[in-house]
């Protein structure tokens, strides 16, 4: 069983929702993001999403845009992102690790080489925001061959007909985008999410993780009631951003601050009865 499937089955047995933490690889430096990565499982992250920085992330709000640019300014590359994954896997064999980002850096690296190297680095799944089901075969086939899940996204605009296209060929879990808008820009509405998750569950047996609009512990608790996992990204990278000034100067303490925020959000998720 894959790490992702094992983790969701474990969460099911424990009758609780999982907490998914997103950070950008190399934000603000390689070393700091490795320190954060290594601390995430203990802080309560059930799954880790590691963002692959891109200059033009069209679905991201200001927080993740800034985070990607900090990482790129710090010299982050795809090779270094895969090195981060390898480094995490040296001492954590169970926490699922998902790379999230945009297609161009993957395409530039070479899709088959990327799938092979990511799998060898201990990556479990991929979320590629701008690869629609219509276009994802090019990555899905090599990813599947390398044992990686290609996780598809569903959105508030996905009608039942569209959902059929999305779930056919999806693996790992379904990532439900809880708002219409870029990451971290609107308030999530738990009642709407509950209805949407029910619709997705009617179409697939895969677990459903919900993200894009979850910022606070209250949001996380409310979504944990209705979804298999909550995803928080913008709030975490914004916390990192507080430690970097306009000139790019980094003050110490970002790792501890992010991990303590993760612990609070994870607790809120975990303590919600299901």
């Amino acid at each position: 069983m894959s790490r992702i499937a094992a983790r969701f089955s474990q969460l099911k047995t424990q009758k609780r929702a999982g907490f998914v933490a997103f950070i950008s690889a190399g934000d603000p430096t390689y070393e700091t993001s490795l320190e954060i990565l290594r601390g995430l499982p203990k802080a309560g992250a059930d799954i880790i999403e590691l963002g692959m920085p891109f200059t033009d992330p069209m679905a991201e709000g200001p927080a993740i845009q800034a985070s990607y640019l900090r990482a790129l300014r710090g010299g982050q590359t795809m090779a270094k992102t895969l090195a981060l994954a390898r480094a995490l896997r040296e001492d954590d064999k169970t926490t699922p690790l998902v790379l999230m980002g945009y297609f161009n850096p993957i395409y530039s690296y070479g899709v088959e080489r990327f799938a092979r190297d990511a799998s060898a680095a201990g990556v479990d799944g991929l979320i590629v925001v701008d690869l629609t089901p219509e276009e994802d075969q090019e990555l899905r086939l090599p990813a599947t061959a390398a044992g990686l899940d290609l996780i598809r996204l569903a959105a508030p605009t996905s009608n039942d007909y569209r959902l059929k296209t999305i779930v056919a060929g999806a693996s790992g879990f379904i990532y439900y985008v809880s708002i219409t808008g870029p990451t971290g820009t609107k308030q999530v509405n738990p009642a709407d999410v509950a209805v949407a998750v029910k619709r997705i569950k009617a179409a697939t047996s895969l677990p459903v993780a919900v993200g894009f609009g979850i910022k606070t512990e209250d949001d996380a608790a409310a979504i944990a009631k209705v979804a298999d996992a909550t995803v928080v990204g913008s709030a975490l990278v914004a916390e990192i951003g507080r430690f970097v000034d306009g000139a790019g100067k980094i003050s110490p303490g970002s790792a501890q601050a992010v991990l303590s925020l993760v612990a609070r959000l994870a607790d809120a998720t975990h303590q919600t009865p299901r």
């Binding site: 891109f54 297609f103 598809r152 959105a155 569209r162």
Partner: protein
């Protein structure tokens, strides 16, 4: 590489919006249902004679079409070779070819019941054209424009505001056209219910490259007919400048299956291709995925997008329409380039010789024409698209020439 000669170069894209490996739909899932709706609505509009009739009526009485075909006699004599004709799309309302597409798209938006218009702009020409049609039809309009471009194109920013549009400064990334396009896509994702995104060039997710090409093809259709009237035959060469490539696509498309017609797309070479500071995606880029489609992009070794450079803000884009990428690979169109300095020289030459102040964009096309014409016999014909007028550029040119306004 020798590309096979096809029976037709006008059959693309395929059902998924691909021109060979280019094009496609690389967008956030949230947008997919909208893009599929748009495709359906456009297919229906194309088959509806009343849609074309309405568009034709506005093109004639509001835009001022057909634009003239003009024999540039003095430049022809000066170049000493082929006869040079200009397709005068700079005489359109708002001063460029951009409005051909905006008029088509806003009629489509109305047909789809959309009540809010958004657009991205670089130099501001597409923003002005969008603000113009939005004003004409009474729809609120938001134009995204990079902070850097706002500083260097103040007259167009004011024009858009006079036309009632809200110009939103984009401070993310490099603060130019590509970032404005990112921001417009983000707006669209956030306002899926009521908003129509008028993309200004033959790029973006399918069906945009196709529908923009179709709306701009009025340029080539008219020119073909006018050339038969003027010379009784087809031209031998077509020349057009390329940023995203909408004016070139509009000129080339109706001629693609005429084997005797050579075509030249002129990219902006900025300070020179070797300098690394240019906007020539085909000459200096490689295939990648950005803004909804696969095409040639300026990017570094790690797949990060590089900022384009050109004296012309309208050509200052790190990508190119996917159909051009395909025509390049198929070798149907020759893609060449002209530098900032060559464009500036052609800009002044055209003003002095023909009494036409061209936009800096077609000045690139003229710079190449000045090299091509002398190599061709005097009985040959070059048709160049004069796709915009230079009023918007006089400040930038004055600065380059050291003149005080």
């Amino acid at each position: 590489m020798n590309a096979p000669r096809l029976n037709s170069y006008r059959t693309g894209p395929d059902a998924q919006g691909h021109f060979g490996i280019y094009g496609g739909r690389y967008v956030a899932e949230t947008l997919m249902p909208l893009i599929l709706d748009l495709e359906k609505a456009y297919e229906a509009a194309k088959k509806d004679p009343s849609f074309q009739a309405e568009l034709d009526q506005f093109l004639e009485h509001y835009v001022g079409r057909p634009s003239p075909l003009y024999f540039a006699e003095r430049l022809t004599n000066r170049f000493g070779g082929a006869k040079v004709y200009f397709k005068r799309d700079e005489l359109n309302h708002t001063g460029a070819h951009k409005i051909n597409n905006c008029m088509g798209q806003i009629l489509l938006a109305r047909r789809m019941g959309k009540t809010r218009i958004i657009a991205e702009t670089g130099a501001g020409q597409h923003g002005v054209a969008t603000a113009t049609v939005a004003a004409r039809f009474g729809l609120p309009c938001v134009v995204y424009m990079g902070e850097t471009d706002i500083e260097r194109q103040t007259p167009n920013v004011f024009r858009m505001r006079l036309l009632g549009a809200e110009v939103r400064a984009v401070s993310s990334g490099s603060r130019t056209l590509k970032d404005a396009m990112n921001e417009a896509l983000r707006d669209w994702v956030a306002n899926v219910e009521d908003t129509f995104y008028i993309i200004g060039t033959v790029a973006g997710p399918h069906p945009y490259p196709t529908l923009v090409r179709d709306f701009q093809s009025v340029i080539g259709r008219e020119a073909r007919e006018q050339m038969f009237k003027a010379e009784g035959r087809l031209p031998d060469a077509l020349v057009a400048c390329i940023g995203g490539g909408s004016n070139a696509m509009g000129l080339f498309y109706p001629f693609l299956d005429e084997p005797s017609v050579e075509m030249y797309g002129v990219e902006a070479a900025g300070h020179g291709i070797d300098s690394g500071e240019h906007a020539a995606s085909l000459a200096g880029g490689r295939p990648g995925v950005l803004h909804g489609n696969r095409t040639y992009l300026l990017q570094n070794d790690d797949g990060q997008i590089i900022e384009a450079h050109s004296i012309s803000a309208g050509l200052d884009y790190p990508g190119i329409g996917p159909e051009h990428a395909w025509l390049h690979d198929m070798k149907r169109v020759n893609y060449v380039s002209a530098t900032d300095d060559e464009a500036l020289e052609a800009f002044q030459l055209c003003a002095l010789q023909e009494g036409i102040i061209p936009a800096l964009e077609p000045a690139h096309a003229l710079a190449f024409t000045s090299k091509l014409a002398p190599k061709m016999a005097r009985d040959k014909i070059i048709l160049m698209n004069m796709c915009g007028r230079g009023d918007k550029d006089i400040f930038a040119v004055a600065e380059r020439l050291g003149a005080k306004l």
